[in-house]
Symmetry: C2
C-alpha cells in the first residue's frame, strides 16, 4: 500500500501521472493539491491570493470564509472531479473525497494566526487554516476493500466541524500513517529535492530523517520545506520510504517508486 | 428508506432543511442542486448562463467544457462541501459524492442538441449534457451500511467516461428506484405544485400518475415540468409516493413526509 501526493503547482502533467497510476497493481490512495489553479480562479473572482508569512518563516494562504469557498470549488469541484473523471476513463473506479467527507481529515483550526507583514507582527483572525492531526481512515478502508480508489484533497475539518485549509503534503503523511502505508510518493514540478533550486542537476538523491532538519535550514525553498516536513512526519509515523519525484514526466509514479528522485528513509 | 432532493433555486433555506434532516431516524440519501449559485458564479467568471430551449419546449443549460468545470466547482465544490460541513456540525456523518464518483450516476451524453433560438432550429455541438439512465448504488449501499449519509449532486458520467450535466430531479428519481426507496421528497421554493405559479393558495394537494401528463401541459412552468417528470419516473420505478414540498420553512422534511405539499401516488 502506498500514498501518492500530486502537487498543485504548474508544470505537473496530470495525464502522465494518472495514466501511470492506472497501471499500478499495488493498492494506493491519491492525494492532490490545486494551488496554482486556486490562485488563478480566486484572482478571476476578484479575491486574489494573500500569502502570509509566520514569524518562523513559513508562508501560508490567508483563508477567510470567502477564500475557503473558492478553495473548495477549485480543489473539490474542479480538480478532484477532473482527476476522478480521467481515472474513470482509464478504467479505475475512483471516488473523490475531501477531508470534510466522513471527517476524513481532522485537525485544529488556528483561529488567530501570527504573521509578519512589512517587518511588523500582526494577528489575523477569521482565518480558516489549521493543522491536520489525524485521519479517520475507516471510510478509506471501506472503499479500498470494495475496489474503489480514493482521490483526496483538502480542506480538512476542525474538531468543531468547520472546513479548514491544511497543507496537502502533511495531509498525505497523516493518511499514509493511518493506513499503515509503507511508501509515500510526493510528485511535484522538479526532479526531487534540489540543492540549488535553479539547477536540476543538483538533485539530492538520498536523505535520512536527520538530514531533513539540516537541509530545511540550508537549502529548502518554502514549498519544499513543507514537503520535507511531510516526509519527516510520514517516516516518524511508520512509513518506510518517502520519495520526492518528478511529476512532469511519463511514467512518473513508476520512476519514483523505483527510486528516481530524492529517496528519504529513516 | 427515502430520498430527499433539495432544489438549487433561491429561497430554499438550507439550514432549516439540514437541521430537520439531522432529526430523521429512517435511512435516507440527499440529492441537491445549485442552479442559482451556478448562475451567479458563472456570470462572475465571465461565462454567463446560456439557457437553450428544445423543440418540445424544455429548457436546459448549454454546458460546454468550461461551463462544466464551473458546474463542478459550484455543485461539488461549494454547495456539496457546505452541506456536508453543516451536517457534520449537526452530528451527521455525511459524505459528498458526484455522479462521477464510482460511476454513481450513468447516462448518455447528447453530443448534439437541437434547440430553437429566435424561432430558428439550430444544432449545438460540444455540449456536455445528457440523460441519466442508471444509478450504480453499490457505493451508496456500502456507505449507508456503514453509517454514512450520502450527499449527492450532478454531474453524472457518460458511458464513455465524460462528466455530463443531468437534471437533478430525474437523478434523484433514478437513485430512489435503484435503492428501492419507498418515498421521494422534492423540496423547492414553493409549497408544492401550484395551479397558478403566482398564487400559493392554488396548491394542488394530490395528484396521481395519470394526472401528471395533463398537469404538465396545462399548468407547469419549466422547472416544475422536470420535477413532475422526475416524480413520474420515480413512481414508475417503484417509489410509492413522491411529495413536492416547501424547502423554505422550518421542519420542511418532516412536514413533507407528513403530506404537506403535493402528494403524488400511482
Amino acid at each position: 500500500m502506498f500514498v501518492v501526493k500530486i502537487g498543485g503547482s504548474k508544470g505537473i502533467n496530470l495525464d502522465y501521472v494518472l495514466e501511470d497510476l492506472a497501471h499500478q497493481t499495488e493498492p494506493l490512495v491519491l492525494v492532490h493539491g490545486a494551488s496554482d489553479e486556486l490562485n488563478q480562479i480566486s484572482t478571476q473572482l476578484g479575491k486574489p491570493p494573500r500569502m502570509v508569512t509566520s514569524p518562523s518563516g513559513y508562508t501560508s494562504r490567508y483563508t477567510d470564509r470567502e477564500t475557503l469557498d473558492i478553495f473548495a470549488m477549485v480543489y473539490c469541484g474542479k480538480l478532484n472531479m477532473r482527476i476522478v473523471e480521467k481515472l474513470q476513463q482509464l478504467g479505475v473506479n475512483a471516488v473523490g473525497l475531501s477531508g470534510v467527507d466522513g471527517r476524513l481529515l481532522e485537525g485544529k483550526r488556528k483561529s488567530s494566526v501570527r504573521i509578519i507583514e512589512n517587518g511588523r507582527k500582526m494577528i489575523l483572525r477569521d482565518d480558516f487554516t489549521g493543522k491536520i492531526e489525524r485521519a479517520n481512515v475507516n471510510l478509506l478502508n471501506i472503499l479500498l476493500n470494495n475496489g474503489y480508489l480514493p482521490v483526496i484533497s483538502p480542506p480538512a475539518i476542525s474538531y468543531e466541524g468547520e472546513a479548514i485549509n491544511v497543507d496537502g503534503d502533511r495531509a498525505a503523511a497523516v493518511i499514509a500513517n493511518a493506513l499503515g502505508a509503507d511508501r509515500m510518493l510526493i510528485l511535484s514540478n522538479t526532479p526531487g529535492f534540489l540543492k540549488d533550486v535553479d539547477d536540476e542537476a543538483s538533485l539530492i538523491p538520498k536523505l535520512d530523517r536527520e538530514g531533513i532538519a539540516e537541509s530545511i535550514d540550508i537549502y529548502a525553498q518554502d514549498r519544499m520545506k513543507k514537503k520535507l516536513l511531510g516526509a519527516r512526519e510520514a517516516l516518524d509515523g511508520g512509513v518506510r520510504e518517502v520519495i520526492l519525484a518528478d511529476g512532469r514526466i511519463p511514467g512518473s509514479i513508476t520512476a519514483g517508486l523505483s527510486g528516481k528522485g530524492t529517496v528519504i528513509k529513516r
